[in-house]
């Protein structure tokens, strides 16, 4: 069981790092066409994430593969159960990547506009989908007694026994994700650019901070309704309260840092807030890894856990490997220019 909890934490951290890192790519994508008006400004935004987006996305691959490693049953149940929405997400990830990488391949204005729309649109839907996915896991899915489910895209949009991917709860979580990732992306732009870009992004950061606050509060309240396990955990495992506490402190930190123009700190705080929210979600369902609408059918950490021998030997390479990967990322991010400007010489 301890081994299971260790892996639960490791996988959660890896996936959390993914959301924090690729999250600002999504945020930049959402804001791409509203914050950057001219071609030079759009190039600037793309240059700021160009070196890192691919590496950021690798955290998704590594996180998903680690999930597969630690919880094979969870991986196979969830991936096949969320078949349709997951495939749509995979296709959108293709478009997002193409949007970033293909725009500069031609000077044709329509070509650029098309890839701007692809990048921006895909980022928006992906941010929403990440939130909705998390909402699905927290709310629980229609697992049957054999431990299988197949989620339709929607049923009646209500949180009942037979739920689809979209209902009023998961839509709320999806909107929350869009809001906080937009804020996160705005903080990245504020930190990495200057002039008009920075100013426009800064006003977006302030606006999305307000919407994030409202939506996070709403989601928290609604979670108590759809997932009774949360109230239970509050009394049984009060230590988990640290996660929502981190959210509150970090969100306050975002606002405080924006007002004082501490750009790097605002970005760090929005990352911490996202991390805290994911931690809160994990806390709401623990010790389940995939709760069911009929509570008894839920998949618990213990049931989903892989073979102890495999998980023990995997620790020996996973931890050093991830430490090494973190090292690459330090090199990569340190190598980035502190500020990207529209009048920088073109690298392409």
């Amino acid at each position: 069981m301890t081994l299971g909890i260790v892996w639960f934490a490791l996988v959660a951290v890896a996936l959390g790092v993914y959301v924090v890192l690729d999250g600002f790519d999504f945020g930049v994508g959402i804001l791409h066409r509203v914050v950057a008006k001219t071609d030079a400004e759009r190039k600037t935004l793309l240059r700021s994430i160009g070196p890192v987006w691919d590496g950021n996305e690798v955290w998704l691959i590594a996180g998903a593969a680690s999930l597969f490693l630690a919880f094979p049953t969870l991986f196979s149940t969830a991936m096949s159960g969320f078949y349709l929405p997951l495939m749509i997400v995979l296709w959108l990830l293709v478009f997002r990547g193409l949007g970033i990488e293909l725009r500069h391949q031609s000077e044709d204005a329509l070509w650029k506009e098309a890839w701007d729309v692809a990048f921006s649109g895909a980022s928006l839907v992906l941010a929403f989908a990440l939130g909705a996915a998390l909402g699905n896991v927290v709310r629980g899915v229609s697992l049957n007694a054999e431990g299988e489910f197949f989620a339709p895209l929607w049923t009646n949009l209500l949180v009942g026994r037979h739920v689809g991917v979209l209902d009023w709860y998961t839509i709320t979580v999806g909107l929350t994700a869009v809001s906080i990732l937009t804020m996160h992306g705005a903080c990245w732009i504020v930190d990495r650019t200057d002039g008009d870009l920075r100013e426009r992004a800064s006003s977006w950061a302030r606006r999305t901070w307000v919407s994030t606050l409202v939506l996070v509060a709403a989601t928290t309240g609604l979670t108590f309704i759809v997932q009774p396990n949360l109230a239970h955990n509050l009394s049984a495992r009060p230590v988990g309260l640290l996660a929502p506490l981190l959210v509150v402190v970090a969100l306050a930190g975002v606002r405080w840092s924006i007002s004082r123009e501490r750009h790097r700190r605002a970005f760090a705080c929005s990352g911490a807030a996202i991390f805290g929210l994911l931690g809160s979600a994990a806390y709401a369902i623990f010790p389940m890894v995939l709760p069911a609408r009929v509570a008894a059918n839920g998949l618990s950490l213990e049931q989903a856990m892989g073979d102890p021998h495999a998980l023990t030997v995997a620790l020996w390479w996973w931890l050093p490997g991830m430490a090494l990967a973190t090292g690459y990322f330090v090199v990569l991010y340190r190598g980035l220019p502190a500020t990207f400007r529209p009048d920088d010489p073109d690298e392409h």
Partner: protein
């Protein structure tokens, strides 16, 4: 098309399409490192050539990334029962690929693509080497995963059908994996060297970028001659012997060998006839199969008839053709690259327009040969998903209907058709623009 067919076809289609890109990037990463090294030694043209190939590499790499991500997830989406049962073993290498290979590649790719000025020649060469190591590591982990399905080691099967990892060391040093890896990676170098030589031939025929065309041809033809030989001997030969030893049914099917005999002949061409269990219109080299397999004129080779029909691969003719297409093309590759290499040594390659034409037109064929090789490997593994442990029919996601799988298969086909057009238009633009 039932659910099983839809799941199989989707995985086959997406993996074949995906592998069109890594088979170029893995080989090209090595050739770029060679060009950068020649650049470090003072060859300015080689360094400029590297710059050109890095552009092609970048576009191809992106295609590989965006088509590769769905592969990772399809283990869970379409093959849930397989993932649930074998996840404890194969997830080790899949996760290792992410942790050790993808992070390395993705972190240093940008330095390779855009960092030449900032890094200076030595560090830029270093970035090329690191990206190359990343892509080749990635190849190892995937081949190791596949090798477990071909020849499972380091595991035990529990009563409920779950497959447990017993020895990570044994799993990672699967003898099958070493041979398959060598064969696969050399095959990737064949593709990259044919592409490099082919573009060099194109420029030479056009009479443009001649200084660089010379470098492309020099590196492409040299690597192509070595790799074309090595993909047959020793790696292909060793691979065939492994199949003969551990998968005799597959071996009989791919060779088109229906009846057991002493001193079996090697079928060069001919059509397998599943009604009469013979090869129609055969061209056979007497005793050659026995010689190549066991180095003895009269050695015994078991024919397909010897084995129960429910253990035969389910597409024997397709398997046979895939294997023969691969071997046939491989033979032509040796001849073409050998000829080009001899002409180059005599400094006559640039005047031999016919050979240049052949090199240019040969570019697509290593892709065909690599694909046919993988089809041989994967069709040959049937009816097993994990050899003699789990049947392919028992590995699918039962909760995903055939209709849903077909829907997403068609979606992938449409999306990938678009990707092909984009890739083709961008790469031709880079080629037309030239090196300088």
């Amino acid at each position: 098309m039932d659910a099983l067919d839809a799941h199989r076809f989707q995985f086959a289609f997406t993996i074949v399409y995906h592998y069109l890109f890594p088979q170029l990037t893995m080989g090209l990463a090595l050739l770029i490192a060679v060009l950068k090294y020649m650049g470090l030694r003072g060859n300015v043209r080689a360094n400029e050539s590297a710059r050109f190939w890095i552009k092609i590499f970048g576009v191809t790499f992106v295609m590989g990334v965006v088509t590769g991500i769905p592969m990772e997830f399809q283990f869970g989406t379409n093959w849930a029962r397989f993932s649930s049962a074998a996840g404890g073993v194969i997830s080790q290498t899949l996760a290792m690929e992410g942790v050790f290979a993808f992070f390395l590649e993705s972190a240093f790719l940008w330095f390779l693509l855009f960092g030449e000025k900032r890094l200076g020649p030595k560090k830029h060469f270093g970035a090329a080497v690191l990206v190359c190591v990343g892509t080749w590591l990635s190849g190892w982990f995937i081949v190791c995963t596949n090798a477990f399905m071909q020849h499972p080691v380091g595991h035990e099967v529990l009563a409920d059908g779950t497959i447990r990892l017993v020895s990570l060391g044994a799993f990672l040093t699967n003898p099958w994996a070493f041979v398959q890896y060598a064969h696969t990676m050399v095959g990737s170098v064949v593709t990259a060297s044919f592409v490099m030589a082919g573009i060099g031939a194109y420029y030479a025929l056009q009479g443009r970028d001649l200084e660089h065309a010379r470098v492309f041809l020099k590196v492409g033809v040299t690597a192509g001659a070595i790799a074309s030989l090595a993909v047959a001997f020793p790696t292909g030969d060793l691979q065939a012997k492994l199949v003969a030893e551990h998968q005799p049914i597959t071996f009989a099917a791919m060779e088109g060998h229906f009846e057991s005999e002493e001193g079996a002949g090697l079928v060069i061409v001919g059509q397998p006839n599943m009604e009469t269990m013979t090869i129609d219109n055969p061209v056979v080299v007497p005793r050659m199969l026995s010689v190549m397999t066991h180095q003895r004129w009269a050695s015994h080779i078991e024919g397909l008839e010897e084995f129960p029909r429910d253990q035969w691969p389910d597409h024997v003719p397709l398997l046979y053709y895939a294997y023969h297409v691969m071997v046939g093309l491989g033979t032509i590759f040796i001849a073409l690259m050998g000829l080009a290499f001899l002409l180059m040594r005599r400094d006559r390659l640039l005047e031999s327009r016919r050979v240049l034409w052949a090199l240019m037109l040969a570019m697509p064929f290593p892709y065909v040969a690599n694909t046919a090789g993988w089809m041989t490997s994967e069709l040959g593994r049937q009816p097993w998903l994990i050899h003699e442990i789990m049947r392919t029919a028992d590995g699918t996601s039962q909760n995903v209907s055939g209709g849903n799988a077909l829907f997403t298969l068609l979606g992938f086909m449409g999306l990938y058709a678009l990707l092909s057009m984009l890739y083709f238009s961008i790469v031709t633009k880079i080629i037309r623009k030239g090196v300088a």
